[in-house]
Subunit: 319 residues, 2 copies
């Protein structure tokens, strides 16, 4: 029986992580915490038991109390205000709800002196603007964050390293690139496209897709591959190391839209909304997954087409 | 009449900054804020007028209120929990009182949309452990912080860059190396040595000097040179740029102790206290001041001997 504390338990990555444990028959006891209530049902799971508590990670006394009582073997720290756009509007809230919450978590474990492994989730945004000749980005590439969100993530990673080296805590870090899949909220670009296109297909919307800049290229990984990587990193990753979690392939948003339209057998025209263009936007981001694939035998299993298919099926049931 | 808001107004750098303005006849209106009361006397100053308010920069509403009322032309942000040792004991307090207070200040200015120039004070600690072949450190050297304090300072600098590029705010940054001079508190190594050695000279203490690791080499600049640099950076520094503030010379703590003993004409033996050794200590830190000297015509004027002499005179009046 493995014991996991999962922060950000009500989010879509946590849902897929629980399903990963279930599908692989990994008997687990999970303590989930989040500011929102989850919509998982206990009866849907046979191999995992979970218990949920609604708390704000800024409340460092409560988090210490929960960790002391639960004594987790593993902590999957998914809690984050992960929107770059929001971070430009509310940099303080973004910073507190990325960096400060993580520092509270680290301090709770240090003070309690609990033997636990933490997976600190970072972001490809940490790399910032990059030149095409530097692609695909390896973990050695310098971090030059260009948004408040990205700064918060770099700060989180630097704190992870300090706690790992200076206090000998057991921390593994990721820089996770864009992930996609069923249940992802439509505030992100791809689920927003899929939702709109499914609406168009069903005749619920005129055939015009509202987008931001669709020339940008991103490295998308299916969330089900991402959670498989997180499980491997928690159980077999090397202490103090940082790993890119990515597919190693880049797709422009335009190409993605074309693929969704092909699957749906529709034609639409896109309308760029300047309000959806981001400040300091990175043009092309593609990661190298050489480190995680060679050291941990992880490999993405879902093709982009499979991911989009599954997202379409998901949105078809939601509309 | 120049208008300065000074955070950390009650500290020793602020005192010397005010004296710099006074000695150079720079008519100024100063709003000082700090959590501690200052011990400056208004009647000692002819050219500068100051007003003090006791506030905690974590109180973002009050800082916004003060900035709105005062409408500063320049902000000298000196407030900091600057002890590396303390940051290992209380990483959350260290982080909040370096990074979060700075973010509150930046946000206040952004929200009020006030046209002001900010000097963000950083630290040589941001560079972290360095190899001897990389010395003297230029501003291009990668930042690899090795203490919670250093991470907080790197986070502050990254936020400065984001606010400068993303919100077009007028921010100049420093990485300030060790500074020394009269009025510095004895929690720092050099004033602690000077105080102990003056006590020994006066026969108030047995001739044993308690130290940490005295083989480490640091780049010391007289605080009076440092504040001259800060004034130049505020008035002539280039927006968005970061500047080392340092002497370009390295002295081991052992050499410094010998110099103080020479001036005092005493002989002592040093006793290393393991409790004063720091975790992840950098062995040698020497900066390059080529950027600030070439671009701003700044040059350190005080020799190490002059600084130590003046510190000795100061401590002689205190004991």
């Amino acid at each position: 029986m493995k014991k996991f504390l999962i922060t950000g338990f009500s989010g879509f990555v946590s849902r897929h992580f629980c399903e990963y444990l279930e599908h692989n028959g990994i008997r687990s006891l999970i303590k989930g915490i989040d500011v929102h209530n989850p919509d998982l049902k206990r009866e849907d799971f046979k191999y995992i038991e979970f218990d949920f508590e609604r708390i704000d990670l800024l409340d460092k006394h409560r988090i210490e109390d929960i960790i002391f009582k639960f004594q987790p073997e593993y902590i999957l720290h998914l809690a984050s205000f992960s929107s770059v756009a929001f971070s430009w509007e509310e940099p303080i809230l973004s910073f507190q709800n990325n960096t400060n919450i993580f520092l509270n978590l680290l301090e709770a474990i240090r003070r309690l002196n609990i033997d636990t492994r933490i997976l600190s989730i970072g972001s490809s945004e940490e790399y910032g603007n990059v030149n095409e000749e530097d692609l695909p980005l390896t973990e050695e590439h310098p971090l030059r964050p260009v948004s408040p969100y990205a700064v918060a993530r770099v700060s989180q990673e630097l704190l992870s390293k300090i706690y790992s080296t200076g206090y000998s805590m057991d921390i593994v870090m990721t820089r996770s690139f864009n992930h996609i899949g069923p249940f992802q909220k439509e505030i992100f670009a791809l689920p927003s496209f899929v939702k709109q296109l499914v609406q168009i297909k069903k005749g619920l919307k005129k055939d015009e897709l509202v987008t931001g800049d669709i020339t940008i290229v991103r490295d998308f990984t299916d969330v089900r591959d991402v959670v498989a990587a997180y499980y491997l990193l928690l159980t077999e990753g090397e202490k103090g190391e940082v790993y890119n979690v990515c597919s190693g392939k880049g797709w422009s948003l335009k190409e993605i839209i074309d693929k969704i339209c092909d699957i749906l057998e529709i034609k639409v025209h896109s309308k760029a909304d300047a309000g959806l263009f981001r400040q300091n936007e990175n043009k092309i981001v593609i990661g190298s997954n050489e480190k995680i694939t060679s050291r941990l035998k992880w490999k993405p299993k879902y093709s982009i087409k499979q991911s989009l298919n599954d997202m379409i099926h998901y949105w078809e049931t939601q509309i």
